[in-house]
């Protein structure tokens, strides 16, 4: 399900399945994109932040066009206890690799991987970040 912001339009509530993972996409070239994500976060139920939220920063390949500091995004990730991924969608290889990472995370969040829960996975990722 693709949406431009949260909350989701209520008229489709009855058509929506269970949400296992929310990926917030932030375009590093657009300050508005970060503001939009920050505003949308307020509409997310607290239970999602136990490993079912992820921030995806796109456009990092174009260093000259950055409008947002990576520091700011990392702080956002820390504040909401959720991992931050960086990628460049214009490069096919990175795009495919990022999609595979997200898919893996989704499998865990949906409970398809026995023995690994969303919460345990996200705490694993946090520990590696702190190194």
């Amino acid at each position: 399900h693709l949406a431009t912001s949260l909350p989701l339009p209520s008229e489709r509530d009855h058509l929506r399945p269970r949400m296992d993972l929310i990926v917030f996409m932030i375009d590093i070239k657009s300050k508005y994109s970060l503001k939009n994500v920050e505003a949308s976060l307020a509409h997310v139920d607290a239970s999602f932040f136990l490993g079912k939220v992820c921030f995806l920063v796109t456009g990092v390949g174009r260093v000259n066009a950055c409008s947002i500091e990576t520091n700011a995004v990392c702080k956002l990730g820390e504040a909401y206890c959720s991992p931050v991924l960086f990628c460049e969608l214009e490069l096919e290889g990175i795009r495919a690799a990022t999609a595979q990472r997200l898919l893996r995370m989704l499998q865990i969040c949906a409970g398809h991987i026995p023995g690994v829960s969303a919460l345990s996975f996200v705490s694993l990722m946090r520990n590696s970040d702190d190194d």
């Binding site: 399900h1 693709l2 949406a3 431009t4 989701l8 339009p9 008229e11 489709r12």
Partner: protein, 346 residues
């Protein structure tokens, strides 16, 4: 052949990209096919141009032919120049039969009677466009062939497109010559400028697709149609919002390609509105400010703002009115005084 003419032809040929030289010389038609065949287009341009000059020497080229070659070059690369649009007004209703010979005679006559040293050249094209090239001199100096003015006139219209590399001091004379020759009684410069001559023509001749207020059942149809994305597993949550944006944007811009403009300029002479306690400006004077939007293709980029999520619909009428009002220079003044050329800022 005059040395200055030879030099002028040499420099004109040098401007042409190597692959285009042959075509352009053929369009010119001054050198025969046999002569063109003797030219070696694989050598460096310097040598090509020297060879062309030698051939022109054989044919005794004069200034008139050199000027025609220059018109052909500028007609081909018309988008390198900046064009302004002028509108002429008729006093009476009768539309005189347009005689091209009379027109040329009157233009030449008027210009020459005011200024002895001018070079005037005409070339007609199939789309009814008459190109006029004027090189300006002074009573004591011969015309400067390297800074001419170009005029494009379509005989059945009241519009003239002018591009000038010379000082603007010659423009009033040029304008006068044009209204005398065309039997109009007034001419004024429009607030419309661009590099793309065809787009300027599209705007004033209303050749672009304009938006019409149609109440067609498009929105209803789209609700029944599956999402356009290739994969049906992707659900667009904000589809109705996207459709609304698309519809409003289409109403504002129409569905066809937009005329090509490179900028829009807004001169603001409005009062600065701030918290009175801040006391930013003690004097109650208009805050003078210039806002300029530039883009390789301004109208298309404005049209794509809302679908890209970078602006809300509907866009400000100050932006969407550009082709309808045929202007890209605006003056915005305060609400109290409504001037004909400016209008109120929203």
């Amino acid at each position: 052949m005059d040395e200055t003419v030879a030099e002028y032809i040499r420099r004109t040929v040098l401007k042409i990209p190597r692959d285009e030289i042959k075509t352009m010389l053929q369009k010119w038609g001054f050198l025969s096919e046999a002569q063109l065949r003797t030219l070696n287009f694989h050598q460096i341009k310097d040598n090509i141009s020297q060879q062309v000059v030698q051939l022109c020497e054989e044919n005794s080229a004069d200034l008139k032919q050199a000027a025609v070659l220059d018109i052909i070059y500028n007609h081909n690369y018309q988008n390198k120049r900046m064009w302004s649009v002028y509108q002429m007004k008729k006093s009476g209703e009768e539309s005189d039969y347009f005689d091209i010979t009379e027109f040329k005679k009157k233009v030449k006559g008027r210009l020459r009677s005011a200024l002895k040293n001018v070079t005037i050249t005409f070339k007609e094209y199939e789309d009814n466009a008459i190109w006029i090239r004027v090189a300006w001199g002074t009573p004591y100096k011969k015309p400067n062939q390297y800074k001419p003015s170009y005029v494009v006139y379509h005989s059945q219209t009241p519009y003239v497109f002018i591009s000038s590399s010379a000082l603007r001091s010659n423009l009033p004379l040029l304008c006068q010559a044009l209204i005398v020759a065309t039997n109009y009684h007034d001419i004024r410069e429009m607030e419309l400028r661009s590099h793309c001559l065809n787009s300027l023509k599209d705007i004033v001749f209303k050749r672009y697709s304009q938006n019409f207020q149609t109440y067609c059942p498009q929105p209803l149809q789209e609700e029944n149609v599956e999402p356009e994305s290739a994969d049906v597993r992707i659900v667009q949550e904000n589809r109705s919002e996207k459709e609304r944006i698309h519809r409003l944007n289409l109403e504002a811009f129409g569905s066809g390609p937009q005329p090509k403009l490179e900028f829009a300029q807004y001169k603001l002479e409005t009062m600065f509105k701030s918290d009175p306690k801040m006391g930013v400006l003690d004097k109650r004077e208009p805050f003078r400010c210039l806002v300029k939007f530039s883009s390789p293709h301004l109208l298309e980029s404005l049209k794509s703002l809302a679908p890209a999520g970078m602006a809300d619909v509907p866009l400000s009428p100050l932006l969407t009115c550009i082709p309808h009002k045929a202007r890209n220079y605006f003056k915005i003044r305060e609400k109290k005084c409504l001037f004909p050329e400016g209008f109120v800022s929203p």
